[in-house]
């Protein structure tokens, strides 16, 4: 195959991974770190699969001298521990970097119900601004979403910005998002919540300036400060 053809193939493959809900097309540092974690684990897993299946294929043949300990301890115990240890380490390292922490990040609220989302953020005067199925966040800075539920368990998920976090009645969960650039991102409820589950989608709008000036958008309703 020629070089351009190869490049084209690679491009097609990558394009195949794109989409408004794709975790493989991240748009913020958190989702990006997790995507890298995935590609690294995929590479490792592919190598291990080839290795194990290679050993299996080589098993078909004349009997060989084997030492039990090489298989059970060498491969079974030490080899697997080494691999698992490094994966775990990578996971902890990434996890440590993407966790919400007390750094004064902007906080918004997401309240799930059957079947939709009610989002709240504060405007410049500290008044609560509510919106349905549309979440406003600042771009380029971390945002913590406080997630609650009205009725059953839902899950708040914006794949291009971060992993998911459940909305559980009686509890408040915190998830951290970060969008690199202003724009629109898709979100979806990820925990099965009844007949409306597939349609429980929402949009996230990341704004360059915060709090955003929404005066010319009709959908917002303003309320007194909480």
């Amino acid at each position: 195959m020629t070089r351009p053809a190869l490049a084209l193939c690679a491009l097609c493959l990558l394009a195949a991974c794109d989409g408004p809900l794709s975790t493989l097309q991240p748009s913020g540092p958190i989702a990006t770190e997790i995507a890298w974690l995935w590609w690294a684990m995929l590479a490792g897993a592919a190598l291990i699969t080839v290795f194990v299946l290679g050993l299996l294929a080589m098993g078909f043949g004349a009997p060989r001298k084997t030492q039990a300990r090489v298989w059970t301890h060498g491969l079974g115990l030490w080899f697997s521990m080494a691999i698992l240890g490094s994966v775990l380490g990578a996971g902890l390292w990434v996890g440590e970097r993407i966790l919400p922490r007390d750094d004064g990040a902007v906080t918004v609220q997401a309240h799930a119900f059957q079947w939709g989302w009610e989002f709240t953020h504060e405007d410049a005067n500290g008044a609560a601004m509510r919106s349905t199925d549309l979440l406003h966040i600042p771009a380029g800075q971390p945002v913590d979403v406080l997630i609650t539920s009205e009725d059953v368990i839902h899950s708040f998920w914006v794949p291009q910005l971060a992993g998911k976090m459940d909305a559980i009645p009686g509890r408040t969960n915190r998830a951290r998002l970060k969008a690199d650039t202003p724009g629109i991102y898709d979100g979806i409820c990820a925990e099965f919540c009844g007949v409306g589950h597939a349609h429980m989608r929402f949009t996230v709008q990341a704004h360059a300036d915060w709090p955003p000036d929404l005066s010319d958008e009709g959908t917002e309703q303003q309320e007194g400060a909480p």
């Binding site: 300990r69 491969l75 115990l77 409306g196 597939a198």
Partner: protein, 844 residues
């Protein structure tokens, strides 16, 4: 594990059983005798009254196969719906029933019964005995499985099947959000089916521990037995949390006791913990028997012995232990503290180590030996190819940041099918092709099986491999349409097309089985040249398995050498001279002959009992709670009749097991199978109790507090009531030792007194259980303890009756020992419950 010392068998060393050679023609006489005693009755009625492990094991597996087909058809509907983004074929409500039923059927009505059936069918043959420890219990388990499964299927036909997903998360599954009987069908149906799981776990444990051929040490038994021992131990500890959760949720739905309702002090996460405390071990419960099959078949296919027996046993024990420590990895997105996340992530990763040990031991075995590519070996390769990938995606999912993205997406669907089909279905297909000659006595027809394998392999990976990508591209599981995401269409369409290839493959596999059973040529004995006892019998296997039970010298031999000698009666307990079903019970550790157990014959009692439990379940489903309570009367009466069947009767003289070795029959022996069985039941029962206490602790400590209404109880009165119960129960536990008729009467009275005091406390002092989860859990704990007192009273009454009938003598113990064990357990849980209650009041 300790050995049980017995005076009677002290001289009977495992290797001291010797039997002189016998003439060949004796085989036919023995066969006639044994068949008369062990065979099922004739006709349809004979099927209903059958208690034989071969019959029931096969029936379990056959029924499971039917449920697999039904679950498979449902999965075809799912895939048809998902093939395009508009769906427009099933409506959402129906779709939700279909995927819920697909998952529930595959897990509860296919996988678990299939492995139970395999264990029930294979273990006695492998261990060198004639039946499972409690044949009537085997049958009871089967009927409960069948009736529970039929209830769920009927609900599907009428469009009222469960629709909240196979893990039934609350509050979605509570009475507010799932009105109608759909969720009740799941809770009651699955719990009904789980009776069979607990029953199977009890008898598999007992059979492995106490019925091995004399001289087959625990540390030398075939690996499949180790795997099944691990499985049954996990079932004894794994199913009770699910049963506890289901009972609590059903109580919440039926009577408004708010265990999981956050507005009244309950917690939806309590359900998740109870469910996954079962649900994760469940995956290993399914995997271990399959791995056991691998460990049996690979060495035979490779003409060698297994590599690393000790390491594999250690790996099994590690899996059993570890798998109870990682249920939280199904809950990484519920908002768990970070330290806990790290801990459970590490534990989940760690569980891959024992799995890796086994995989490498199997591959090492292949290196050591000379693999021959018979059909079972194809499926074993299918296992490796699929399961290794499923295991690796499992490790990925254990990594918390990645889990946050992949959780609840098609990636998880792909992973779980790689593990379940790779780790269970492929090994089961290997097992079917390996053991079918022993079932049918026929050899297989070349070609069809291989073709089926290739089609299945292609169909499977075609369906599920790209589903990983579908998930990473953001497709959640359990959605029926995706109009806004055309980029998922080609992925889903591909999966759907290949899923039909997969179905064709499975159909070809079944066709192969049918062809073999009907058109196959007769096969010779031991067609694989295997070293294990399962092949040391004629094909198809006779109802009694062994004309004489294998003794030490048969264990070292190949099956081919042992088979004739056993048929001629050169083992222990040859024939059926006394006209009753007998087998040899041995000690736990080194399998020293201990006594002779007399098993019950064919009976319809299991059918009656499970049918009456079925009536109870149906009444609960119909919301007829009074009638349901009434339906428990026949259940109790039948259990009494059942127990009467165990009373000492007939010829109680010692039996000549082999020349110079006379052993007592079980009525006159100290440590009978029933006693080991009761111990296993109490392990499960104790876990049930601990699950309730876990609920108490969880709601008191973890759940965000919702203040309960002011307690109405009067401290002094309550303490007096508790004191009366405590003293009465301690008394009952103490008098049990006295072995006299008046002691039994006293025990009965004490239990009744305690029960009366509990009822009085419940009605005068206990707060309304519908008001707050704390009070609901107290009521549940009280109900648990009360039920145990009731059973203890019934057992004391039973013992009293046995004294009256003269069945309890210095030689025969009757039900005395069983009552004592139960009484001690009851007294202990009652005291513990009282302590916890007092501590809880003290803290708040």
């Amino acid at each position: 594990m300790t050995d049980i010392p017995t005076p009677a068998a002290a001289s009977a060393r495992a290797d001291s059983v010797h039997v002189a050679p016998a003439p060949a023609q004796r085989a036919l006489a023995l066969h006639r005798d044994l068949t008369r005693v062990w065979r099922n009755d004739r006709g349809l009625w004979g099927q209903i009254t059958a208690v034989n492990h071969t019959t029931l094991g096969l029936r379990f597996m056959g029924t499971a196969l039917v449920f697999f087909a039904i679950g498979g058809i449902l999965s075809m509907l799912i895939r048809a719906q998902l093939a395009t983004h508009q769906g427009a074929f099933l409506d959402t409500a129906l779709y939700n029933q279909i995927f819920t039923m697909h998952g529930s059927i595959m897990m509860f009505l296919f996988a678990i019964p299939m492995l139970e059936g395999l264990g029930i069918w294979l273990l006695p043959k492998l261990l060198g005995t004639r039946d499972m420890a409690f044949p009537r219990l085997t049958a009871l388990g089967y009927w409960c499985y069948l009736f529970g499964g039929l209830i769920m299927l009927t609900a599907l036909l009428f469009g009222v099947a469960p629709h909240d997903g196979w893990f039934m998360y609350t509050p979605l599954s509570d009475a507010t959000h799932s009105p109608g009987i759909n969720a009740d069908v799941w809770l009651l149906g699955v719990t009904f089916v789980e009776i069979s799981a607990v029953a199977a776990a009890v008898e598999i444990t007992v059979t492995i521990l106490r019925q091995r051929a004399p001289g087959m040490k625990l540390t030398e038994m075939p690996l499949f037995a180790w795997y099944m021992l691990g499985t049954s131990a996990m079932m004894l500890v794994g199913f009770p949390p699910l049963i506890a959760g289901s009972v609590l949720l059903e109580l919440e739905r039926a009577f408004g006791w708010p265990f999981f309702d956050p507005t009244r002090g309950g917690d939806p996460l309590l359900w998740q913990h109870l469910f996954w405390l079962f649900g994760h071990p469940e995956v290993y419960i399914i995997f271990l028997p399959a791995a056991g099959v691998m460990s049996m078949i690979i060495p035979v296919m490779c003409r060698t012995t297994i590599l690393g027996y000790g390491a594999i046993v250690a790996a099994i024990l590690a899996l059993v232990f570890l798998s109870f420590g990682l249920w939280v990895h199904h809950m990484f997105t519920v908002g768990i503290p970070h330290m806990a996340l790290a801990f459970f992530s590490a534990a989940s990763v760690l569980v891959a180590v024992p799995t890796a040990v086994q995989v490498f031991a199997w591959i090492g075995t292949m290196w050591k030996g000379h693999p021959q590519l018979h059909l079972p070996m194809y499926h074993i390769c299918g296992f490796f190819l699929t399961f290794v990938m499923g295991g690796l995606t499992g490790v990925m999912l254990a990594i918390v940041p990645f889990n946050w993205q992949a959780h609840d997406t098609a990636f998880v669907t792909a992973h779980l099918h790689y593990v379940l089909i790779g780790g269970f279905v492929f090994p089961m297909m290997a097992a079917a092709t390996y053991w079918l000659p022993l079932i049918t006595g026929k050899a297989r027809i070349r070609g069809v099986g291989e073709a089926a394998f290739w089609v299945i392999l292609l169909g499977f990976h075609g369906t599920f491999f790209i589903m990983h990508l579908t998930g990473l591209m953001g497709m959640p599981r359990r959605i029926d349409v995706y109009p806004d995401n055309p980029e998922w269409v080609w992925l889903n369409l591909t999966s759907s097309i290949f899923s039909f290839v997969l179905t064709i493959g499975f159909a070809m596999f079944v066709l192969d089985l049918i062809l073999q059973a009907t058109l196959g040529q007769r096969t010779r004995r031991d067609p694989w040249d295997a070293p294990t006892l399962d092949w040391a019998m004629p094909v198809p296997s006779p109802s009694y398995n062994f004309a004489s039970l294998p003794i030490s010298r048969h264990l070292g031999q190949s099956a081919r050498d042992a088979v004739l000698s056993l048929a001629r009666g050169e083992g222990a307990l040859a024939g059926a001279a006394r006209g009753r079903r007998e087998l040899l019970v041995t000690s736990v550790g080194v399998a020293r002959p201990h006594h002779v157990a007399i098993l019950p014959g064919n009976t319809a009692l299991p059918l009656y009992l499970s049918a009456s439990i079925g009536v109870f379940v149906l009444m609960m489903l119909a919301g007829q709670y009074r009638l349901a309570a009434l339906a428990l009367v026949p259940v109790g009466a039948l259990i009494w009749v059942w127990a009467r069947g165990m009373a000492p009767a007939g010829d109680l003289r010692a039996v000549e097991v082999a020349p110079n070795l006379n052993l007592p029959v079980h009525h006159c022996a100290q440590h009978s199978l029933a006693r080991t069985g009761l111990a296993a039941v109490l392990v499960a029962d104790g876990t049930l109790f601990v699950s309730l206490l876990f609920g108490v602790a969880f709601l008191s400590v973890v759940t965000p507090a919702t203040p309960p209404p002011a307690a109405g109880a009067d401290t002094v009165t309550s303490l007096v009531g508790l004191g009366v119960i405590g003293i009465a129960l301690v008394l009952a536990a103490l008098v049990g030792r006295l072995n006299t008729r008046s002691a039994a009467a006293l025990g009965l009275g004490a239990n009744l007194l305690a029960l009366a005091a509990l009822l009085w406390l419940a009605f005068s002092q206990m707060d309304d259980p519908t008001a707050h989860a704390r009070d609901a859990l107290r009521a549940a704990v009280a109900g648990y303890v009360g039920l145990h007192m009731l059973v203890a009273a019934a057992m004391a009454a039973f013992v009293l009756d046995q004294f009256r009938r003269g069945e309890i003598t210095p030689q025969t113990q009757g039900a005395l020992g069983a009552w004592q064990m139960w009484q001690h357990f009851t007294t202990a849980v009652a005291l513990l419950a009282a302590l916890v209650l007092i501590a809880q009041v003290g803290v708040s």
